[in-house]
């Protein structure tokens, strides 16, 4: 099923890139281009070919010689998911987020185009949808996460785009239909909009806020701001894990007349009646500790519910690791991520019980950092630690929780927020000329034009 690494072949696009890079390569110190390879006969299976899986496939293909590397990824199309908020607010055409996975898959990799349906960590085996088995020596879990719309009574992804329901997370089609639902609401000329947040860790935690800000921006452009009411309903007391950003958001929402409603969890929706039911989740459920509000306990949080009419609602579903991980030995068994997320050391990204297993990306049990920027920071850590594990050495690299959120505060300006596990924004900004606490046109231009190329370079393992 797998084969050894073969010499790479280049298509015209890759040749062009190589030419552009080679032109300036002479300016670089040679040491910057050197990368020692590690000889091994190990079989490494990477579960998932999204941002994290693809970055790891390319990095490992460059650093290992003689290894067998298998990527388990059923999708042919790669979605640039950070662009979906721009699709949903009408700034980007949906096609701008699409690329072929084959553009990024390194040569010599065995690409299994079917989903994994089970993992037996004791036997080091991955079960595939066709009944076959992939055995591994090392496993990189990069499955991404699962959207649990079914935990909201009456809600399903198929409803997005109808009955005033939007949800940017569901898919590219979902983002596009969310745009259409917002268009329809704006065409009505007035009404009530509800923007929700989820009671679990979510990928791109800024997306619900971006959807609120961009919709507000479009409403203001209609010249009828007073005819629209916007409510932001969130399960926790905080709106964002980083305290400075949280304070900023609260002030901005208050200034803009966006009603903040804390301790509200979307529990049910009646599309026909355009009504949403929210359950009061209690002041103990802070945003940063909301994983304590466990899915199994959703039904017995309390008796307090409130039904609110809406003309448009943006739904953010509860999220978890995919079922294939939740039902495996790899899931966390204790602590705040038990039963929901991959059991990894949040610094070394090595599995807490299976040292030959590493996790990267949205699937890991970590309080923050489910973003593409996090993957960019995690990939070198997993690469270094997996190679050390493979050679029987101590793990040398630690992830500091770096994550970034290009927080769009209006269509045309953004803040490039960066922080880590310490939540203190003490990181040297990636771009020293951009203050992460200032709304900026340049930050918007970066989001609109440069972060996508940076993302693709990350997939190729080059940044």
């Amino acid at each position: 099923m797998t084969r050894h690494l073969a010499p790479p072949r280049m298509d015209r696009r890759q040749l062009l890139k190589l030419g552009l890079g080679a032109g300036a390569a002479g300016l670089l110190p040679l040491a910057g281009l050197e990368a020692t390879t590690v000889p091994t006969r190990a079989h490494i299976v990477i579960l998932g070919g999204g941002a994290a899986g693809m970055a790891m496939a390319n990095r490992l293909a460059m650093r290992l010689s003689g290894a067998r590397i298998t990527v388990v990824e059923p999708r042919e199309i790669h979605h640039y998911q950070p662009g979906w908020t721009l699709v949903a607010c009408g700034v980007w055409h949906p096609d701008r987020t699409l690329r072929s996975n084959a553009d990024f898959m390194p040569r010599g990799i065995d690409w299994i185009r079917q989903p994994a349906v089970g993992v037996d960590a004791e036997q080091r085996r991955v079960s595939l949808a066709d009944g076959s088995i992939a055995e591994y020596d090392y496993l990189v879990v990069a499955t991404g996460l699962q959207l649990n719309y079914h935990l909201i009574d009456g809600m399903s992804p198929e409803l997005i785009g109808s009955h005033g329901i939007g949800s940017v997370y569901a898919s590219l089609e979902g983002a596009t239909r969310t745009r259409d639902a917002i268009d329809e609401w704006l065409a009505r000329g007035s009404g009530q909009g509800l923007f929700t947040a989820a009671p679990t860790p979510v990928k791109c935690a800024g997306a619900p806020l971006k959807m609120t800000f961009t919709t507000l921006s479009r409403i203001k452009d209609t010249g009828r701001r007073d005819a629209f009411r916007l409510d932001y309903l969130t399960p926790g007391e905080a709106m964002f894990s980083q305290p400075w950003v949280d304070d900023f958001l609260k002030r901005r929402f208050d200034d803009e007349g966006v009603q903040r409603r804390h301790h509200y969890r979307l529990s049910a929706i009646d599309p026909g009646a355009r009504q949403a039911e929210f359950t009061f989740v209690g002041p103990a459920s802070e945003f940063t500790s909301h994983h304590e509000l466990r899915q199994a306990e959703f039904g017995r949080e309390g008796e307090m519910t409130e039904v609110i009419d809406y003309d448009f609602i943006h739904v953010v579903p509860p999220m978890s690791a995919p079922d294939v991980i939740r039902e495996s030995d790899l899931i966390a068994r204790e602590g705040p991520f038990r039963g929901e997320w991959l059991d990894t050391d949040i610094h070394t990204l090595q599995h807490n019980r299976y040292p030959e297993v590493f996790g990267i990306g949205d699937v890991i049990g970590a309080p923050i950092n489910k973003t593409a920027a996090s993957v960019k920071a995690q990939a070198p850590v997993v690469e270094a630690n997996l190679l050390a594990q493979l050679q029987g050495q101590a793990l040398p690299a630690r992830h500091n929780g770096y994550t970034s959120c290009p927080l769009i505060t209006d269509i045309g300006k953004a803040m490039l927020v960066e922080f880590g596990y310490d939540n203190d924004m003490a990181f040297l900004p990636s771009f020293s000329f951009i203050d992460p606490k200032e709304e900026s046109w340049v930050a918007w231009v970066l989001k609109d034009y440069l972060l996508q190329p940076a993302y693709y370079a990350m997939l190729e393992g080059r940044v």
């Binding site: 062009l16 910057g32 700034v91 960019k376 990636s430 046109w441 918007w444 190329p453």
Partner: protein, 115 residues
């Protein structure tokens, strides 16, 4: 998250290709205008054209309006020192490019004059 020089080049290898036709067209325009002018005796130190300079300045100034629009934004959102530095640099670039194209072209149209 910091980018190395090789990382920046990797990012540019994805960022530039969509704009390559535009960049090449502008470069071709510049080279052709300069080449044609110089073949007919144009030297920018020995020829003056006030209208070309005025048009170049206006083109540069107009950048302050259309560049934010082109990026889906607006001038009101150009707020930080970095924003203004980037926008002014772009305006200067547009003004310079416009002048470097129009100046030799005006020479070709008007013929050699002292100023």
């Amino acid at each position: 998250m910091n980018f190395t020089l090789s990382g920046i080049l990797a990012v540019l290898s994805h960022a530039i290709p969509p704009f390559l036709p535009l960049i090449l067209a502008l470069l071709a325009l510049l080279v052709i205008a300069q080449l044609l002018g110089r073949l007919r005796g144009y030297r920018f130190t020995a020829y003056r054209c006030v209208p070309a300079t005025i048009v170049a300045l206006l083109a540069g100034l107009s950048t302050l309006w259309w560049l934010p629009q082109l990026t889906g934004s607006r001038l009101a959102f150009v707020a930080t020192a970095t924003d203004w530095a980037a926008l002014v640099a772009a305006a200067l670039g547009v003004a310079l490019l416009t002048w470097l194209v129009l100046h030799p072209l005006s020479y070709l149209v008007r013929g050699p004059r002292r100023y």
